[in-house]
Amino acid sequence: MRPPDASGDALGALAKVCGDVRPGEPEEGVLGVEPAAVAAPATVGEAAEVMRVAAEHGLAVVPRGGETRLDWGTPPRRCDLIVDTRRLDRLVEHAAGDLVATAQAGLPLERLGAELAGEGQRLALDAPLPGSTVGGTIATGASGPLRTLYGTPRNLVIGLTIVRADGQVAKSGGKVVKNVAGYDLGRLFCGSYGTLGLIVEATFRLHPTPTGRAYVARPVDGPEEAHEAVQAVLHSPVVPSAVEYLSPGVVAVLLEGVPDGVGARAQQTVELLGREAQVSEDAPDGWGRYPDGTVLLDVAAPPPALRDLLAALPATGTAVTWNGDGHGYVGLSLGDSPVGVPSGTVADVVADVRDALARHKGGAVVRYAPEDVRGAVDVWGPVPALRLMRRVKDQFDPDHRLSPGRFTGGI
């Protein structure tokens, strides 16, 4: 590998292959690490050329989509070049009859949703942060309430095109939902945070947009009641699209389907949740968003872990969303006790959460936190199979130029 070089030489070389190349601005720093250059390729071919030139010049590359989660994870050790996908924003194909769509990485989920809605279809993924793109959603494995029924991006991506660290374009999967030919790199790239390659295009399986929809919500008081309410719905046959616990104390259920069916199922759900439950056409407060806080933890464990998770948190300064699928978020509002969580205690809170979830074989990852807090906590927690992950990383990115340091174990 050549020494890093994002000087005029590299900029000039990038400008030859990409129509939109410029020096980075201070405010474009990725967790404070300022890029020397920003390139915004408009085609997959241009993206490949940009990556090839970056490889030739030994540039450390950080992909950027809608900038909604660029402050997640840990800062890159180097950031010579941001590859911005915002010009890669085409809906390449919507095969409505096949319930499949192919989109470029920079297409925002809202725009994709609007296009699909025209045919009565949707990508069954929530966008917790407005403006997030197809590529960023895959790279961060982002999901929301609908994961109860539809899973996360790994369940919905059926084909993926990437540009490798060396500039080579490669795809896996295809345009059909049922396909077991070759390794599924789509699932591998979900949640890989730009460390394996640049995602340029994805094909999704779609679902028909339901014609009926209802929310059933009831207040819950304390961990035990929250747990009981979630369990009551999970083990029933109402087939919720989403079951969510939301701070400060609501369990809410989304039912979707044909209008008559939804009505009947909403009544069934009310019976399951008890008399305090209310049916509404509107989502309850906080639905589909991350909990408030200056620190965000991503927590995962089997559904019954909700009880222990809630019990492990300080009484104030914390907010939780928890999906019936066994996944959630904890927001910590930093500040002085008794209102906030003192920043000096965050490491303890994280440790308590991990202890509580470890009893269920679960774990917690710090998604974002102010720099001083980040430095004082173990961001990733224990990572099984880290050695295997490093070896996969070394194959895809032998020079460690792709989002170096942004990921688990310094990957």
Binding site: L99, V180, A300, W380, M389, V392
Partner: protein, 482 residues
């Protein structure tokens, strides 16, 4: 046996006890093929471990000796994924068949790889749960095999594949290390790529599966049409209306004839195609959609519709479909089961072209398919006593795969690539695509000892500069042992 293999067998004896290590050529013949019986190879050694630690120790011995190994569950695979190596060890997981944990509040169970798919459902059914992946072989296939192949089944249209129902796997890596891969843990989703890697990335020794709530109601109908085209119209109408059936299956006249001969399923006489549509879920939901489905079948020209009124009638409707592959043996001395996928909307064009191929070549093709997701299972019939007939059938079978690729589909929807289809992989993927997939392989198994010769037509030399091949490949001349 080669002296090194002999020595390895003795070390395995010491590890497992001689009764778990088979070297007798007669006993080894049990394992010479999986469900794809035209590829056969007797392994040098077969071992029957009881525990994950034993599997890890076996893999370490193989790695130290540089001997290739292949894992095998029940051996029901249809692409030769569990085809042994003459110079290698076959690791049979059929003794590892304990259900270790059932966690209903957590909607999951932990099972060993040799557990039979249907036994998971049997164990959790009393709690109102089941294991959703339902390959046709579910009465005998193992969950470990399902993980390797990312098995589907008739109901995967609505419920997804094994990959969507496996939450974690304990895996013996090709280094002989026991590691836990999970879908929701920190770091790369290695589980996502492990499931469906056809046993080339390691051997799973413990699987955490998701359990699915048994639906409140199931409704099944059988609709008979004059032609495949009419049946196809009904499928398009149903999917177009936003209905997501649990299953939607079609059979053509020739496969109906075979099923009739084999199991007397009494499908409506004179049908050019039958469609089986199953809806499941909450009662109110299913009731509304089922009426719609019935109407759409009639509108498309169904001349008879039978609705199952109980489980026995439902089973009767499914009997013909589920027996179709084996039943073809009644109307043809030999046949190839093909597995290709096309975008569902290309169905009429592709079926017409298959008809033409059949007419041009004189090779009969019976069609059975998962119509909802465009997964075709053409059964290519031939008489193995007739000279050249097998080759002609192979040719038609290959041409059908080309048709799938031409229409933007896949060379396999659920049977896997194995040894059977690796030669077709370059028709679907570029060299760079295949090379990139094999980077994962090189990360997991740089020595290339774990189920080598499967999936990829040309192994990647791990450690080489991507895209550049230097000199003859180390496996050259060895990969085609059979």
């Amino acid at each position: 046996m080669e002296p090194e293999l002999e020595a390895l067998a003795r070390r395995l004896d010491a590890l497992l006890g001689p009764e778990r290590v088979i070297t007798d050529p007669v006993r080894l013949r049990t394992y010479e093929c999986d469900g794809l019986t035209n590829h056969r190879c007797t392994p040098a050694v077969a071992v029957l471990p009881d525990t994950a630690e034993q599997v890890a120790a076996i893999v370490r011995e193989c790695a130290a000796a540089g001997v290739p190994y292949v894992a095998r569950g029940s051996g029901t695979g249809l692409s030769g994924g569990a085809l042994p190596r003459a110079d290698g060890v076959l690791i049979v997981t059929s003794r590892m068949r304990r259900i270790l944990e059932i966690d209903i509040p957590g909607q999951r169970a932990v099972v060993e790889p040799g557990v039979i798919n249907l036994d998971v459902t049997r164990a959790v059914r009393p709690y109102g749960y089941y294991f959703a992946p339902d390959p046709s072989s579910q009465q005998i296939c193992s969950v470990g095999g399902n993980v390797a192949e990312n098995s589907g089944g008739a109901h995967c249209l609505k419920y997804g594949f094994t990959a969507h129902h496996v939450l974690a796997c304990e895996v013996v890596t090709p280094d002989g290390e026991l590691v836990e891969l999970s879908a929701d843990g920190p770091g790369y989703d290695l589980l996502g790529v492990f499931v469906g890697a056809e046993g080339t990335l390691g051997i799973t020794t413990k699987i955490t599966v998701r359990l699915t709530r048994v639906p409140e109601t199931v409704q099944t109908l059988l609709a008979a049409f004059g032609s495949i085209e009419a049946g196809g119209t009904a499928v398009s109408a149903i999917i177009g209306a936003g209905v997501v059936p649990a299953a939607i299956e079609m059979m053509d006249a020739l496969s109906i004839e075979a099923a009739e001969a084999a199991v007397q399923c009494a499908y409506p006489p004179g049908a050019g195609a039958v469609l089986i549509v199953e809806l499941d879920g909450p009662e109110a939901e299913v009731a509304a959609q089922f009426a719609q489905v019935e109407r759409m079948c009639r509108d498309a020209g169904a001349f008879e519709i039978r609705v199952a009124t109980d489980d026995a009638e439902r089973a009767l409707i499914w009997t013909g479909r589920k027996s179709a592959f084996a039943a073809v043996g009644r109307i043809s001395p030999a046949y190839i089961v093909q597995d290709g996928v096309i975008p569902r909307t290309a169905l009429p064009r592709v079926l017409a072209r298959i008809d033409e191929l059949s007419a041009e070549s004189g090779v009969r093709v019976a069609n059975v398919f998962h119509a909802g997701d465009g997964n075709l299972h053409p059964l290519v019939l031939f008489d193995d006593a007739e000279e050249g007939a097998g080759a002609r059938a192979e040719e038609v079978s290959g041409a059908i795969l080309d048709l799938c690729i031409e229409h933007g589909g896949s060379i396999t929807g659920e049977h896997g690539v194995g040894v059977d289809k690796s030669r077709y992989m370059p028709r679907m993927f570029t060299e760079a695509d295949l090379d990139t997939m094999q980077m994962v392989r090189c990360g997991f198994d740089p020595a290339g000892l774990c189920n080598p010769g499967k999936v990829f037509p040309t192994p990647r030399l791990c450690g080489e500069v991507p895209g550049v091949r230097k000199g003859p490949h180390p496996f050259e001349g060895k990969a085609d042992l059979f």
